[in-house]
């Protein structure tokens, strides 16, 4: 398997990262090196092995559905790149 330049650009779009052609070409070579290394796992026979997604095979614990004091709004908004009247500002999405 080998990623094409178009593959890299498509992945970057899916990941919502702007990428120049020059960056995509550099990334293409490195990603192909990485995937060549990863290919080793395709040769392993793992028939019948259950996938392991958590090291202790623990079930996700649910908490009680109780009301907790909310975080301080002003403190949360302090880190926002743009905010107004207690809201996060984004570019217009509905015309």
């Amino acid at each position: 398997m080998s990623l094409t330049l178009a593959d890299v650009q498509r992945i970057a779009h899916l990941a919502r990262i702007e990428i120049t052609d020059e960056q995509a070409r550099a990334a293409q070579a490195q990603l192909n090196d990485i995937f060549a290394m990863i290919e080793q796992i395709s040769r392993v026979d793992a028939t019948g092995v259950a996938p392991m997604t958590h090291p202790l095979d623990g079930a996700q614990r649910l908490r009680e559905d109780v009301v907790e004091p909310p975080p301080d709004r002003d403190e949360l908004l302090r880190n926002a790149p743009a905010q107004q009247q207690g809201l996060f500002l984004v570019p217009r999405v509905i015309e």
Partner: protein, 472 residues
């Protein structure tokens, strides 16, 4: 000395703050605010004056900049979070503060804890106090350099694939990653959630055990936190090594293990044998697959975790853009450095339609094979021992241009991370160019106390952990 009031927490904090200032050239710290540190130190002194006791009350500590903190900026070593001020403390930070530990500041690290050399920090390289040409290891490079240079007696760190043990080995100090799920991940800026584990870097295993007593424990705010009673991690420090079976995996003594590292590690194993333990051969046949499995699983989880950085609620936002999608794409392009971008791309691909089964699902299956190897090995031994890294600290620039060669630096540390078992590195000598070598000890889930006990017995018989780099 704090206990019998020979020294106050304020005096102690001032000693370390002065050292931090004096050795700023190491670039170990990203944010130091002496007024906040001294405020905490005064509070600790006041608690002691009121009759409170505690081994950690007034003891300084510094935190890897992957833990969010009130007061000090929390950046994860990334431009994305430059200047970010958290509205809360990470659970680990909070628990240690409750025990009376005094925060010295925030420590440099690879961006989002992705790296093995600290060369991926957006805020510059951390130098290795043993040799300015050598990397300090990563991703907890600032934590390691600070402890090695005695700018802090102990530092928090995180290990996703080796980010505590590898820098500990490269800087000649003690580092431990506990069992996955023991430390809370709440407030630890997420990289790969099924692997991320908070731990410590310190001068000795005994110090790690003392701090673990306050640091680890169940946290309802972390959905994968394990619900077990609190325990005393110092309880096995007087362990008798006679009768203990140390497993030596053949797979850790091949694949380019450098002769200088092998000699130091084998000498350490012989010393542990002389202390009464027996050495047995064990097999971890799938361990060499750790790196390819890790570089599917960790990027997959990272691509998901790092999707939260969209320039809306916090973090970097591009100055100019056309629309919302363009704003997000430009903000992420500008805010993330090359390594997070690389891993996000790998992770996005392995999770994408049509490739999920071949990569993520297959890697998750092979991960289980690796974990099962450990369970089989622990039927024949109590603790596994081997090298932490295949070589001593490499030079800056040596692997930076070739991601795959950098990834292989974690060959011997990644298997324990994937299995979620605790692992530790203790200094066991010096190799090429006088650079430190680490001995890795791995125990089964929840067996940290014994792991620390074995390390402590070794440190009582050796003085490698007492060596301090020249000039510090």
């Amino acid at each position: 000395m704090l206990e019998d009031r020979q020294v106050s927490a304020v005096e102690l904090a001032n000693v370390f703050l002065a050292r931090i200032e004096r050795y700023r050239g190491l670039n170990a710290f990203l944010d130091v605010r002496p007024e906040l540190t001294l405020q905490q130190a005064r509070a600790a002194d006041a608690r002691r004056a009121r009759g409170e006791r505690g081994a950690l009350l007034g003891m300084p500590i510094a935190h890897k900049d992957i833990f969010v903190t009130r007061g000090w900026a929390s950046t994860a070593g990334s431009r994305m979070l430059e200047g970010y001020l958290s509205p809360f403390d990470a659970t680990v930070v909070e628990r240690l503060a409750q025990a009376g530990m005094v925060c010295l500041g925030k420590l440099n690290c690879d961006e989002f804890a992705m790296g093995s050399s600290n060369e991926n920090s957006a805020f510059g390289n951390v130098l290795n106090p043993w040799d300015a040409a050598a990397v300090p290891g990563g991703s907890s490079g600032g934590s390691a350099a600070a402890v090695a240079a005695r700018l802090a007696p102990v530092a928090t760190a995180t290990d996703t694939g080796g980010s505590i043990r590898e820098p500990a080995a490269f800087t000649g100090i003690t580092g431990i990653k506990p069992t996955y799920g023991r430390p809370s991940r709440w407030g630890m800026i997420a990289f790969a959630s099924s692997l991320d584990t908070a731990g410590l870097l310190a001068a000795s295993a005994q110090d790690c055990a003392l701090v673990f007593n306050s640091m680890l424990g169940f946290d309802a705010r972390d959905s994968t936190s394990v619900q077990l009673p609190e325990e005393d991690y110092t309880r096995a420090l007087d362990i008798d090594l006679r009768g203990l079976r140390i497993g030596v995996p053949a797979q850790f003594f091949t694949q380019g293990l450098q002769p200088d590292v092998e000699a130091a590690v084998r000498a350490a194993l012989e010393q542990i044998r002389q202390l009464g333990a027996s050495l047995v051969e064990v097999e971890l046949p799938n361990a060499p697959l750790g790196i390819p499995v890790y570089y599917v699983v960790a990027p997959a989880e990272a691509s998901s975790n790092l999707s939260r950085f969209d320039g809306v609620r916090y973090g970097h936002r591009a100055r100019t853009f056309d629309d919302l999608t363009d704003m997000i794409k430009k903000s992420r392009a500008e805010g993330f450095g090359p390594e997070p971008k690389r891993r996000i791309l790998v992770g996005t691909y392995v999770l994408s339609h049509g490739y999920y089964d071949a990569y993520y699902l297959k890697a998750s299956k092979v991960r289980r094979l690796i974990a099962e190897d450990f369970q089989r090995a622990f039927q024949a031994c109590d603790v596994i021992a081997g090298p932490v890294t295949s070589s001593v600290a490499f030079n800056f620039g040596e692997k930076a241009a070739d991601p795959v060669s950098m990834y292989l630096a974690d060959l011997f540390t990644v298997p324990a991370s994937l299995a979620g078992v605790p692992g530790l590195s203790v200094p066991c000598g010096f190799g090429d160019r006088g650079r430190p070598v680490g001995l890795q000890l791995i125990a089964n889930h929840f067996d940290e106390a014994r792991l620390l006990g074995v390390a402590h017995r070794y440190q009582l018989a050796t003085d490698w952990h007492r060596r301090i780099p020249a000039g510090y």
